[in-house]
Symmetry: C2
């Protein structure tokens, strides 16, 4: 028999309804278009309850899509330090987080969704633009910060595809430290070195 905890049954029911409403709203409206108000309406609750459980849209997305880490924290960690060593900090943080997830990580699921479903791709693109690239762009005192952040992202997502999703050797079995050292100069160049002239 399930022990009675004294918890009101409505609470977790509301929380689950909010998460369901959030997934539907993000899928339909993208990250930019979704609102706490729309999520609350779908869940049949007051918007204040959504704020109570999840604080803001970013945290609601992280919970609803089961992003296993808080991107805001990671970005803060990466930006807190010398710009001359940011390439290493990004590479080590990225590989440590992914390797820590194990084989069937929610992040692999995210990459799979983004690759196979246009709605998911839009939702993830808008989230990454607003909450990851946006934060980095505002903090980095370099020209073309958004382009630089996207180039960094291209190296990281490609590494994740080959190492974790496609499992291509020798990338799949390399140690995270070895790989971090190999891609760190690439990331450093994208963040701080001169880019070629472009439109």
């Amino acid at each position: 028999m399930t022990p009675r905890t004294g918890r009101r049954p409505g609470k977790s029911g509301s929380r689950d309804a909010i998460l369901d409403g959030a997934r539907a709203s993000f899928a339909e409206n993208g990250y930019d278009g979704a609102t706490i108000r729309d999520v609350a309406r779908r869940a049949g609750v007051d918007p204040a309850l959504v704020h109570h459980f999840f604080d803001n849209k970013q945290k609601l997305f992280v919970a609803a899509v089961e992003v296993p880490v808080d991107p805001a924290e990671l970005v803060a960690h990466i930006l807190a330090g010398d710009l001359d060593s940011i390439g290493k900090r990004i590479a080590y943080t990225f590989l440590r987080v992914w390797d820590g997830q194990g084989g069937t990580s929610p992040m692999i699921t995210l990459i799979r969704s983004a690759a196979s479903n246009a709605q998911a791709a839009r939702m993830i693109r808008e989230f990454v633009s607003a909450e990851i690239l946006g934060r980095i762009t505002r903090s980095l005192k370099v020209p073309d910060a958004r382009l630089r952040a996207a180039l960094v992202g291209s190296q990281l997502i490609g590494l994740a595809m080959l190492r974790y999703v496609i499992a291509l050797e020798p990338l799949a079995s390399a140690s995270p430290e070895d790989l971090a050292e190999m891609v760190a100069p690439t990331l450093q160049r994208y963040v701080t070195e001169d880019l070629p002239p472009h439109r």
Copy 2:
């Protein structure tokens, strides 16, 4: 009424049966495990007919999976030239081929399959290992050629994911030339410069 062409109906029927058999065999056995003999058996034809239509396993794969370019040709083009400018040659070739495909390219379909389906991932991984990385490894006179080729692949597949599949700005709208110039030094470093010590 369909005009009679005098063509024997068996011909294109056999060709299609071979392609169907090839897709089934590659999916079930991977690229390494599939054989012309098994494909012929599935198609109910003589192995000689498979060779007649498709020459070898590599070309059969390219046709069956609708790879829109011949990787062997691309690799040959990239390797035919000065090693000091191989980064640019890879970047320009890659972006030119992808941009030339248009929005719903079979290569996007390939990436989607690899991301969402373990059988497809294995098949593509084995094909890329044998026919692309293998060729490059045999030709490059550098240590760690396989690792270097895989690192190059990680930058390229990540660029393709963000530019073509997820359509992240500003990568999605950048000119192919601008992007090629930005990633070329990364590719050049992976191919010819010293890698950090590793196991």
